[in-house]
């Protein structure tokens, strides 16, 4: 039995603590945001946040993150009330197939939490471990920059907050 705190809710689960977090999120908790891409920690599609840090859930045993704050794509916002990053990805149409998008958004969330005004090079470096095969990189870079600009505007009181769906830190 392990207890996971995911998107603000507590889940007591009868799973082997060695089970990679990815399968618990997807199959036990029915969450789609983190995707299986390689199972080797090489592509970033499974990225989630653990205590605010980006973590590759496909190679992270669930037992290791018991009791820590796990946030998945679903924990940011909904289609009706998207998080500013999700909204920026939607507005920039930053997907072709969209399979990598969840990992991109989570990795970007970690970046913007640390670095609210990243330059393009910083975004590129932060996303270096997140692969995209469709060649949507340009739109993703624009989306992250857009979200950063919106975030700064909100922080500086130049714009009303739109982070309705955001999980409290």
């Amino acid at each position: 039995m392990i207890a996971l705190e995911v998107n603000g809710g507590r889940h007591d689960l009868e799973v082997d603590p060695e089970t990679p977090l990815l399968y618990v999120l997807r199959n036990d908790l029915g969450l789609n945001g983190a995707k299986f891409g390689c199972g080797l920690g090489e592509c970033g599609a499974c990225t989630v946040l653990v205590d605010g840090e980006p973590v590759l859930s496909c190679v992270t045993p669930a037992g290791l993150v018991a009791g820590r704050r796990i946030v998945t794509l679903e924990g940011l916002g909904t289609a009706e009330k998207p998080h500013p990053l999700q909204l920026a990805f939607i507005e920039e149409q930053a997907a072709q197939c969209g399979y990598c998008a969840g990992g991109m958004i989570m990795r970007s969330k970690a970046l913007l939490d640390q670095t609210p005004a990243p330059g393009e090079q910083e975004i590129r470096e932060a996303l270096a471990g997140n692969l995209c095969r469709c060649g949507t990189h340009g739109a993703i870079l624009r989306a992250v920059s857009r979200a950063a600009a919106v975030g700064r505007a909100v922080a500086e009181g130049r714009m009303a907050g739109v982070a309705a769906g955001e999980v409290k830190p």
Partner: protein, 740 residues
């Protein structure tokens, strides 16, 4: 984004003039010969293409499927346009046997040309039928009716909604059967000037859900009672299963079934991680015979050129009045095996219940897959349903269909329980069909005036199309391994000479293809088939010839091109990229040009690449690519630009980094570390400019930029170094050597 929008508006203006000058084909000439427009004959009745719901919304049926290219949004735009409905009132059902029209495969950049055209005519005709029905009920001539927002209005203020018409005539109390009539293709769609939805960058319908974690992919399906399957492949092609300790795997936690059929091995477990663990154990307890020997990787091109091959002359012309040749150039280019390497490995969910099979798959062709599955499993095709559910980005014949058979074989062992199979990364890397290795040998002669007098292009390749159901053959991976196997299908032809024939005007021309039938590594369709490598070779050679003729690469191309649409694309690319004739390289920075019209009949693309090469390391950085695309009538400019940009970035990755690695017995590139692709730090900035020709028909664009991008990058590297590398990929060690 804003730059792109602005550019497009500018082009909207400038193109208007071009269209007047160059528009050769009038609108509405979409039919091939005397047949129906596009794929309209795939469903004989209008009702096979659309249904008006009682709430007035319209459900559209298409045999084309979403591969990450945004096709469903574009098709919805076409339907909404012709029906005078808001886009949100269109619902699309795509790729389901027994429900949607059989439009074959979603391939060849033909979805808009064939499927979009069919849907456009079906919806135009449906609107005419609705108008007729309204005219009868309201007792006014059709000419006095107009449509808007799903409603038909009379001039005197009366109206009837599509929903009311769909509900049937209250006088005889029966629902309407108005669309139960043949689709004739005789009702003209809207003229370009009146379109308000087609031609706009309507946001993709699927994106909000995907960005917020909604179920969007077959990988996200969770059906009641669903269990998880994994397969164990042989260590290499041709290896046979000699012994396996199945009982040991059966005893593992959660394992529900271990399936062995000939050399096919699979396992099903309650939980996904249990299935993965069981797969590892199963692989460990299986003993295999030696694989069939593979050719030596380092001599694969020599191998291709010396094996028995079907030789065909694909183009030949000669002009006795051609000028004599004063200078001759020859060059040989090579391209390795490439992987599709979808980010999400192939996946399917299959359920066998009372002798009927239901498969959910990201296949590109639900009907061909259904028929192949039925053949392997000895089922009546009518007892098999294949339903398309999206997978990760698809760039051709990947493992989708094979995963569907894997899931079906495992589901057969557990009737009544849906089995989800997702390939592991090594399954995908090692067993998906690859794009074939190729050799292109070119030779050309220049006349005294510096013009090309003759041209010869020979290409050696394995087949580029071996999809399931082609030529009535199964061609599914697991079917090779069954106790009663359906052996690998060696395709007769398909795409190895794609774009090998230059679009340029050349008096004497010979193009020859050699299709090598023996197929040591499984090959099939990867985005562009042979066009990527042929355009790389052809357009590289154009630069070599331009250099030999002392001409600027852009001028040299224009001198040999009559096609006005192609010329417009090239000229615009030169202008937008700030091309300066005669620009010298400083030894590290270079710029290069590449152009092609995909298949010589689809979308036109020209690319200008700017690169930096570190002469000491050989490392290339592609700084910027400027592309101009003309796809006839643009349906969704942003969608088109994304396809062009995506093709460029992917081609940059192929060109700079990618090659399937193998030793004498197996594929050795089995993950992202051994098959690296271009990642964020190295992805070029891409600018896409679109030329829209609203009076022209749709031209497929999804594969159009790959070849021109590769050529532009290779030419830029050649320009930077002053020496050319003709072997893909342009790896640092090769460029270091070229740099001398």
């Amino acid at each position: 984004m804003s730059g792109r929008e602005m550019t497009r508006r500018q082009f909207g203006r400038s193109v208007a003039g071009l269209v007047v000058t160059f528009s050769l084909a009038p609108d509405l000439i979409d039919a091939a010969g005397d047949g129906l427009p596009g794929n309209l004959d795939a469903a004989p009745q209008l009702a096979g293409w659309l249904r008006i719901e009682v709430d007035g919304r319209v459900t559209v049926f298409t045999g084309k499927v979403e591969l990450g290219q945004g096709i469903l949004t574009a098709l919805a735009q076409i339907a909404a346009e012709e029906l005078d409905l808001p886009l949100r009132d269109i619902r699309i059902i795509s790729g389901r046997t027994g429900v949607t029209p059989d439009e074959g495969y979603t391939t060849g950049s033909r979805s808009l040309e064939d499927g979009g055209t069919a849907l456009r005519y079906a919806c135009a005709e449906a609107r005419a039928v609705l108008l007729d029905e309204a005219a009868a009920r309201l007792d006014v001539p059709v000419a006095q009716l107009r449509t808007g927002n799903g409603t038909i209005f009379t001039v005197d203020g009366r109206k009837l909604t599509y929903a009311e018409i769909a509900a049937g005539d209250p006088a005889n109390q029966s629902p309407t059967r108005a669309l139960n009539r043949p689709a004739t293709g005789r009702v003209a769609p809207k003229p370009a000037a009146t379109r308000t939805i087609v031609g706009t960058s309507a946001p993709r319908l699927d994106i909000p859900n995907k960005m917020t974690g909604g179920p969007a992919f077959v990988q996200d399906l969770r059906l009641p009672g669903m269990v998880f399957g994994r397969v164990v492949r042989p260590p290499g092609p041709g290896a046979g299963l000699e012994n396996v300790d199945i009982d040991r795997v059966r005893a593992l936690p959660g394992v529900l079934a271990v399936v062995r059929d000939g050399d096919f091995l699979g396992v099903v477990a309650e939980r996904e991680e249990q299935a993965i663990k069981a797969r590892d154990v199963l692989a460990g307890v299986a003993g295999w015979s030696a694989s069939a020997p593979l050719p030596e990787a380092g001599r694969i091109y020599e191998w291709l050129r010396t094996r028995p091959a079907d030789r065909a002359v694909v183009a030949e012309k000669s002009d006795p009045a051609a000028a004599p040749v004063v200078k001759r150039l020859e060059a040989t280019f090579t391209k390795p095996y490439l992987a599709h390497a979808s980010l999400g490995p192939s996946c399917a969910v299959a359920e066998m219940r009372t002798g009927r099979l239901h498969v959910r798959s990201h296949t590109q062709g639900v009907y061909p897959l259904r028929n192949s599955l039925a053949e392997v499993l000895r089922l009546d095709p009518e007892a098999v349903v294949v339903e398309h559910v999206e997978g990760a980005g698809c760039y051709g014949h990947n493992g989708a269909d094979d995963a569907a058979l894997d899931a079906a074989l495992l589901a057969r062992a557990l009737p009544g329980r849906p089995v989800k199979v997702q390939w592991m990364r090594d399954d995908e890397c090692a067993w998906e069909p690859f794009g074939s290795a190729m050799v292109m040998q070119l030779s050309a002669g220049l006349g005294a005036d510096g013009a090309i007098v003759d041209w010869r292009h020979e290409v050696w390749s394995n087949a580029h199309s071996s999809r399931p159901g082609r030529s009535g053959r199964v061609n599914l991976l697991a079917a090779w391994h069954l106790a009663e196997p359906a052996p690998p299908y060696l395709a007769r032809s398909g795409g190895e000479d794609r774009n090998a024939v230059p679009l340029y005007e050349i008096p004497n021309l010979t193009v020859v293809r050699h299709l090598v039938r023996e197929m040591p590594l499984r090959t099939s369709a990867l985005r562009t088939l042979g066009a990527y490598a042929n355009v790389f070779a052809l357009e590289s050679f154009m630069d070599e010839l331009a250099l030999a003729a002392g001409a600027d690469p852009v001028d040299f191309r224009l001198r040999h091109l009559r096609d006005p649409r192609g010329r417009a694309v090239i000229e615009t690319a030169a202008t937008e990229s700030g091309w300066r004739p005669g620009l010298k390289s400083d030894g590290t920075r270079g710029r290069g040009f590449g152009f092609a019209r995909y298949k010589n009949l689809a979308c036109y693309v020209a690319c200008v690449a700017e690169v930096e090469v570190d002469r000491s390391t050989g490392r290339v950085r592609v700084r910027r690519v400027v592309a101009v695309a003309e796809a006839g009538q643009t349906v969704n400019p942003n969608g088109l630009a994304m396809q062009i940009e995506g093709g460029i970035v992917q081609a940059a990755s192929w060109t700079l980094k990618e090659a399937v690695a193998f030793d004498r017995s197996r594929v050795t590139s089995r993950d992202w570390a051994s098959y690296p692709i271009l990642a964020f730090p190295d992805v070029p900035k891409v600018e896409v400019h679109l030329l829209n020709r609203p009076e022209e028909k749709f031209l497929g664009s999804g594969e159009a930029s790959s070849g021109p991008a590769a050529a532009a990058i290779a030419n830029a590297v050649g320009h930077a170094l002053g020496r050319r590398c003709r072997d893909l990929p342009l790896l640092p060690e090769r460029l270091r050597q070229a740099a001398g």
